[in-house]
Each structure stands twice: as C-alpha cells, then as structure tokens.
Amino acid sequence: MALSLLTKGLRARPVRAPESGISRRKSLWERTHLDPWLLLLLLVLLIVGLGVLYSASGQRVDVVMAQGSRFVVAFLVMLVLAQLQPVTLMRWAPLLYGVGLLMLIAVELVGDVGMGARRWLVIPGVIRFQPSELMKLAMPLMLAAWLSRRQLPPRWKELVVCAVLLGLPVMLIAKQPDLGTSLLVACAGVFVVLMAGLSWRFIALLGIAVASALPLLWANLHNYQRQRVLTFLNPESDPLGAGWNIIQSTTAIGSGGLWGKGWLQGTQSQLEFLPERHTDFIVAVLGEEFGLVGMLLILLLYLLIVIRGLWLASAAHDTFGRLLGGSIILTFFIYVFVNVGMVSGILPVVGVPLPLVSYGGTSSVTLLAGFGILMSIHGHRRLLPR
C-alpha cells in the first residue's frame, strides 16, 4: 500500500517543461523547494521515534520533550537549507571543509573530554560543539564540489587528492576516538567517489589493500575498540563486561517474537540493565515491544526514505547535485544498517545511533540538514533539460 502511494508520488513528479513559457503558477512544493513525499516519510519517522523514545527512556516526558524540541530546531534547519541554491553550497564547500578540518585539529589540541573521548569543542558559556558532526556534511560537499568540476570518471590524480581530503579528517576523528563517526564520514566521502565512477579495477584493488591493512589497523585500535570486536566475535566470553550490551539487546529483540510485548510492556527494556537503551540501543526496545512486525515496518520506512532520496538525487540537474545527494542518502542507510546490525549482533558495537530515533540532538540536526540539502538539490533543478 505504502509502495503504491510512493509510486504514485513518483509518477506525479516528472520533470515538466513550462506550459506557456511566460508565467505559470508554481505549486506550493515548487515554491518551498520541498519534496512532499520525503517530508511525509520523515515526519512519520520522527513521530514513531518519539513514541519509542518515551518507552525507552522509562516513560520520561522531559526526555521526549527535549528530543521533540531538538527535532523542531533540526526541522527548521532543514527548511532553511532547502531554500539555498546548490550553487551556493558548492561555493561554500571549501570554506566549510576548511573550517571543519581546523576545528578537528583544535579538538585534538584543546578539546573537551567527555566519556573518555576528546570530541567536544567548548567556547565556555556559549556552545559545546562536535566538529565531527559538521564533517559529516562538509566531507561529501567538498568532494562532490571538487569532483564535479573535474573530468569524470576520476583518474589517478583526482583519486590521490580525494584520498587526502578524505583521509585527514577521518583519521583525526578516529583518533578522538570516535569510531562510529569516522566510519560515517569515511562512507560519506567514499560514496561520492563511487558515484562519480571509480573504476571497478580500482575498487577491487582497494578491497585487497584494506584487507591487507587490517592487521595494521588492529594494532592501532584502542583497547576498548579491540574489546568490542572480540566481544562481537564471541559475546558469551564476557557476559558481564563488554558482552553485556549484545547479550541483553539480542535477548530483548528475540523475546519480542512476532508481535512484540506491546508498547511500554518490554520487560527487558524497562529493566535498568539494558544499557544506553534510549540512545544507541533503542532499536532493542522497539524489537522487544513491537516484535518482528514492528522491526520490518520501521526498516521499510527507512528503505522508502532511502529510495525516495536516491530518486531525488538522480533527478538532479548536474553532477554536483547527484554526487552530493547520492552520498547523503547512502550514508543515511549506513546509519540504519550499522545500528540495527550492531544491536542485533551481526556487527561489532560502534557508536552509531539509529537515525532520528535515538536520543541525541546533534545527529538529528546533521541528518535533517542533509535532507534539507537533498531537497534543495531537487527543488532548484532547472526545469529545462540540460
């Protein structure tokens, strides 16, 4: 049913030539540069997210209100970004990227330590800010802006530049240490290059290189990161320590069964032992309380968002828009995949939230800002064919 709605939506939005050529009344959506379908899907997701959060937080209204007010801010950011011309974004890309990189270096030097990691930049009394969040958008912007002016598919020279642009911030973020975010930033960059037409030969080569670099990477991991990988391979080895999260989250999901125990009825989730149940592990609450049906529905919701997003990206009128849009929406899927994967125990635990459902302000703003850019790319495309 939802699918047919979507396809109808798709059919309703062909690239139309102006009817008379002089003055045509623009529709609401054209004037606001928004995409109604994407907007609707996002709204459904946000509302579902707040409902799950209410249960996961132990029915705390203050937590839900806090998240809701962040959503409002994030939504406004999205609406504003959708009004920008993609050309403007393209011009600003180097500046944003440069500022982001400088701030990452600043974090390395004077950053604020929270939860054992140096991630925050603090101007006392004014703002606490995670520059790595900015990088999630600045990275694809920069690469897309740079590559779209080059001849594509990229050749060696371009690839080297891309590798440097990508590698520096990713390394800085991984060093904080924030494995989850560095993974997401890396994905955002890699997707741009992939969409730009990175040759298959090169992809194969890269795969071999990564595989052979794994031991080196292992040697450079922090102890707790190593522990997570080990725990992932055998969670029962340390049931009270690092394996705790995975055992408890899989138990929560598994005990949910087909239909779940019902909203606010999850015995596992409502007990205090499921850690980070309203942040990174929130999907376990969803799995326990809404069962397989609920999980499949939310996955479907994410899929619809991703497919609609990809459609918008591919309808962009220039390469910059396509590369940027494609990267944003694919990264969004990576969020979902990594989070659900880790909570259900098929991926190691890295700190990636379930997008727009997990409790947390900055990531919601970044995510919805990304959707704002996506809508801007689509909403400002030239109506005439290239």
Binding site: G58, Q151, L152, P153, R155, L194, M195, A196, G197, S199, W200, L240, T250, T251, A252, I253, G254, S255, G256, G257, L258, T267, Q268, Q270, L271, E272, F273, G287, G291, L292, M295, L296, L299, L303, V306, I307, L310, A313, S314, D318, T319, R322, L323, G326, L330, F333, F337, V340, G341, S344, G345, I346, R386
Partner: protein, 635 residues
C-alpha cells in the same frame, strides 16, 4: 571503464555512470536489508523460545549498594551522629502483582493502625525510578520480621532490607546544630544524581547533615545478581564496592552544648558560644529542642502536627533564624563606631537628665533610669547602660554612618561559613526603609536604633560573631561548625571573610573593653551581681529587647504583663579580657525582670569553658539566680 583522454566534461556519460551506480546501490541496500531482516527473523521467530525463556526465567539485575553515611563527632571525639543497623520494609512496585491486595495483607500482618496504613499507601504510590525499592517502614521489630519471612511467598515485590539508620544519641540538645536526615522526597528525587543515590533512602534535611551532604553521603556501589522470575536473588555475579561517606568532626563541645541546653531549662531562647580567634562554634543551642530521631524513622502525622503547632516552636532554630532586637547589647559596638566617626571621645561627658529630646521636638526619649545618670562618659555609658548617651551618639552619627559601621560587624548579614538556613536578620537603613515601606527615614527612628530597638534585629549567631570580632580587636572570623572533613582539617583562613575593622587608636578597644568589664565588676554595673567571684577578667554587655512597646511615660511592670509579652533578656560577653578564649551570646525569650537571667547563663558558659574544675551544675546556677531575682538590674 576505459580511460579516456578528452578534456571536456561529458555530462551524458556522468549521468549514465551515476544511474548505473545508483541502481547497484539500491541492489546492495536491498541485500543488506534482507540480511538484517533475516537476522531479525532468526532472533524473533526461530530463536524466540530461547530468548523468551532467558528473558522470563533468569533475569540479571543490578542492585545498588548504598554507602555508609559518614559519622559526626564533637571536638573531643564524642559521637554525635551514628548509624544503627535496622530492618526496613521496602516495596518494588514493578514486581508487585496487585498493589492493593499486597498492602492489605501487609497491614494485617504488621497490625498497623489506620493512620500508619494511610502513610503506607502514600509512600507506596510516591513516584520512584522504575525498579527502585520504595521505603515503606523503618525499624521493624523481630516479630514483624518473622511474620514477613513466613508470608514471603504471598508478597512478591516486598523485601525486608537490612540497613544502617541514622541515630542521634543527644538528639534533643543537638537537633538544631547538626540537623537530621530524612526520607528522600519526590522533589529531591528529581534533582539527585540517580547513580550516586541508588539505594539511598535518606538525605540531610537541615543543619550540618544538609550542609555537608556531599561529604557525608559517599558513593553508591552496585552488585549484579541473578534472580528468578519472582525477583529473588539466586547468586551474585559481581560487585562494585560503595565508597563510604567521610566522617565529620565538629567544633562543637558536647559538654558545653549540653550545659547550654540545661541552662536554658526549657525556656525559649538560644545560646551561642565561639572561640573568638578561630570562629569555632563551641555551642549553638536553640531551646526548646526536639527529638530529631523521629524524623529519621519517619515521624507520624500526629506527632508532627504537635511539633508544628507547639507555641514554643521547637522546630524553629532560634540560634540562626531567630530575629531579636539586640537592645543595649550593641552599645559597645556603637561606642567604638562613635569613636571612629569622631562623634564622641573616650572622655567627653554628657549630662543625662533622664531623657533625650530632638531639637524642635517635644517628645522625650527616656533613659531606663527615670531620674537620669547625671554626668556620663563613654565607659560609664556602657557600664550603666545609659540610653541618653546613645540617643545623642546615634543622632549625631546619623543612620547612614551607623548602618555602615554596624554592617562591618556583620549585623544584617549572614555570617556563618557552613551554617545551613541562616538568616541575615536586619540592619535597617534609609534604602531599606524606602524599599520596604516606601517612606523616608525619620530622625526619631535613628534614636531607637541607637539603643538597639526599632527595626534593628539580630540573630544569636550574629551577636556572638560580632562579640568575637570585638574581642579580636576588629579581626574577623566566620563562625564554623566543621573542623575536620575526613582526614582534612578545614583551613583557618576561610574565603569571603569580611574585612577586618581598623580603628585609629588601639587604646579605644581597651577603653570599650574597660566599660564592658565594669558591666560585671563596676559598683554600678548592670550585671554586677553576675560578676561576683569572677576568677578571670570578663567583658560583657546586657540588653533587654522589648516585645511590647510602651506608650510615652508609661511604666513597665513585669508582673502585670502576660508571660509572652515580657521583655527578652540578652547578654553578650567574652573572656578572659587579655586573651579571649570564648565569646558568648545569650538570648532568653520573655525572661522579664531585666537582663540578669541572661548574664548568669553567659557567666556559667564562660566558667565551664575557662575553669579547669568540673562544669557547674545547672541546678546550682538556677538556685543562685532565683535568690537574685529580687533585684532588677535595669537594662
């Protein structure tokens, strides 16, 4: 893809590449989603039984281990607050099948009165963090514990918990000084760090217990236990030990505190004694006291109402919140201020006809001695507590300078370092009056302030502190209660100590002290009877505070007035004069008959602290006082 060498961009090709890649991306996404779905099907359908069993039958639970609260000692190591093992009844609402039947059963089992049962129901329904035990009843006796043990299977979610409970051995005399702990209430739950207070039911509510809550409480530990489906602990899997709270050593001397309480003998009033050089509070008593242990175990409604409605206000901490007109006790301070401001000199005399008149005003401001003291110099003005001298002094100084000079002694401000809930009382000024009443300041009001009446109000702690500062010749100390936190002594130098008082001539202090000594030993000193047989040099000043204001030219007769309308008796003193070791402020409410009463108490406190011999028996002092009641020693 073949490597092509053309330099022009090729939009068609770029679009084609993108479309292909996007298609591949969608394929990958679908495959990955399928993978996730497969995993979910595996967990939630195939393995559902396994996980369901795991979730239902065996639950791992994290139980808080509350820390032991720090003990409180007096300056000699006498225990003032300890922890006694007791058994409490707790309830975890999430584990209770039916709250009402469970509570009914409990009431029956424990033989509760309807009132106790009501309290039970209220506490059981108080908001709690999920799966946190709520405290229903403290201090169960053996029979109750046995009864609960037998019926355990009928009462899921109900636990008998061994816990250390605060106990105050000298609760009556210490209640106001060290305060007490009580159950954490719904408001406090919201603001407390849940990790730190996990498993803790009590929190400092007033006094030292409140001020040093952070130090005394410690850090909760945790233990992970495996439980069966009914929540009973099967075995312990691991634990983090709690960090106990730190012990606190106070500056209070239990013996002196006890003496002060007995001296007040059930009268309403307060005694505060300090070490002038350090600000250490030796005794801080507000009478009547109350049994603070009642608040720990949970006071029942009737007893609480009785305390609340008692007209002697036993719950009111007079030592730090009681506001009294200081009366003549402030004359030494005003004399010094007069010297500093150049309004008087030590030797210049005035003539006292028994009253003072403002220029162009017929109203007579009376001295307490109707026919006047004749020629009065500064020392004599203190010794005989002459009012006319201070009417004149206050009038010439004016309220603004008077306010500033007295503020330097701490009047009108909170002076304590670690005193919870202290009042700043009131040092009136022109600005204050405009803000409060929207009226200008009248010259006549300055005269009232000049003899410690009118709007001026002080707390006993303030008066004791000002006395200490005077005894120190202007060097400020902030009164403090804690001398040692854990193993760390509280530094003598405290932050925010007000500026020391500096006067032009050091001899002025001696002249003022000399006047104060004559109060006790001079042939016309207002407290000369108290000074009989002093074994050291003592300086003091008496005061009476009017509760009931008299019309002009009316005479005061203690006998005729109802007890509660009689004047308050005040006395401030320090000793020995050469090297002050103790500063005392005494206030006895509605003592009537002048300040004699308070002076005796101050002397007894000082004797007990300074003389080696056994502390004098309170009964003897009382007897001596009764013999003395015939003479009314004026102001």
């Amino acid at each position: 893809m073949r490597d092509r060498r053309d330099t022009l961009k090729n939009p068609e090709q770029e679009l084609r590449i993108f479309r292909v890649r996007a298609f591949l991306a969608v394929l990958t996404i679908l495959i990955l989603s399928g993978l996730l779905s497969g995993r979910l099907v595996y967990l939630q359908v195939v393995q559902h039984e396994v996980y369901s069993t795991r979730s239902e039958k065996n639950r791992v639970r994290v139980e808080p281990l509350p820390p032991t609260r720090g003990l409180i000692y007096d300056r000699n190591g006498v225990l003032l607050a300890e922890n006694r093992p007791t058994y409490n009844l707790t309830l975890i609402r999430e584990r209770v099948d039916n709250l009402d039947t469970t509570l009914d059963r409990l009431e029956e089992l424990l033989n509760l009165s309807p009132e106790e049962a009501e309290g039970f129901r209220i506490r059981a329904r108080q908001p709690q963090r999920p799966f946190q035990p709520a405290l229903l009843m403290s201090d169960l006796d053996e029979t109750q514990i046995a009864g609960l043990a037998i019926n355990r299977h009928r009462l899921p979610g109900i636990e008998v918990e061994a816990q250390l409970l605060r106990y105050y051995p000298d609760s009556q005399i210490m209640a106001h000084a060290i305060g007490y702990v009580g159950r954490i209430n719904a408001e406090e739950v919201k603001t407390l760090d849940p990790g730190r207070y996990a498993g803790t039911h009590f929190i400092g509510k007033t006094g030292v217990e409140r001020f040093y809550e952070d130090v005394l409480h410690g850090q909760a530990g945790l233990r992970q236990v495996e439980t069966n489906a009914r929540g009973r602990v099967l075995r312990e899997l691991g634990r983090t030990h709690p960090v106990p709270g730190q012990n606190l050593t106070l500056t209070i001397d239990r013996e002196l505190q006890n003496l002060a309480y007995e001296l007040l003998d059930g009268r309403r009033g307060s005694i505060v004694a300090l070490v002038p050089g350090t600000g250490e509070i030796l005794a801080m008593v507000s009478a009547p006291g109350f049994d603070s242990n009642q608040f720990v175990t949970g006071i029942d409604f009737a007893s609480y109402r009785e305390l609340q409605e008692n007209i002697d206000l036993p719950l009111f901490n007079r030592a730090i919140r009681g506001q009294y007109p200081p009366g003549s006790t402030i004359k030494p301070f005003l004399a010094l201020a007069g010297l500093v401001e150049g309004v008087i000199t030590p030797d210049r005399t005035i003539n006292d006809p028994g009253f003072y008149q403002l220029p162009n005003d017929s109203r007579r401001y009376r001295n307490w001695l109707r026919w006047g003291h004749g020629r009065v110099d500064m020392e004599r003005s203190i010794a005989v507590s002459n009012n006319t001298y201070y009417y004149s002094l206050a009038h010439e100084m004016g309220i603004d300078r008077l306010h500033d000079q007295m503020s330097a002694f701490g009047f009108g401000q909170r002076v304590g370092h670690d005193i919870f809930g202290e009042s700043g009382a009131l040092m009136p000024s022109r600005d204050w009056k405009r803000a409060r009443f929207n009226q200008p300041w009248y010259p006549g009001e300055t005269l009232s302030v000049g003899i410690g009446q009118g709007y001026w109000q002080v707390t006993p702690l303030q008066l004791a502190t000002a006395t200490a500062v005077l005894a120190n010749r202007g060097q400020w100390v902030r009164p403090r209660l804690a001398s040692q936190i854990g193993d760390n002594p509280v530094p003598v130098e405290l932050p925010d100590t007000p500026r020391d008082i500096v006067v032009q001539s050091d001899a002025w202090w001696d002249r003022v002290f000399s006047g104060m000594e004559k109060v006790l030993t001079g042939h016309e000193g207002t407290a000369r009877r108290t000074g009989v047989g002093l074994q050291y040099r003592m300086a003091g000043k008496s005061g009476t505070a009017q509760v009931f204001s008299l019309g002009q030219d009316q005479r005061y007769n203690a006998e005729e007035l109802a007890e509660r309308l009689r004047d308050h008796a005040l006395f401030m003193a320090f000793a020995p004069l050469e090297d002050p070791q103790i500063a005392v402020a005494v206030i006895v409410e509605n003592a009537g008959g002048g300040s004699t009463h308070a002076a005796h108490l101050a002397r007894a406190m000082s004797d007990a602290w300074l003389l080696e011999e056994e502390a004098p028996d309170a009964d003897e002092i009382r007897e001596a006082m009764e013999n003395d009641n015939s003479t009314v020693a004026g102001n």
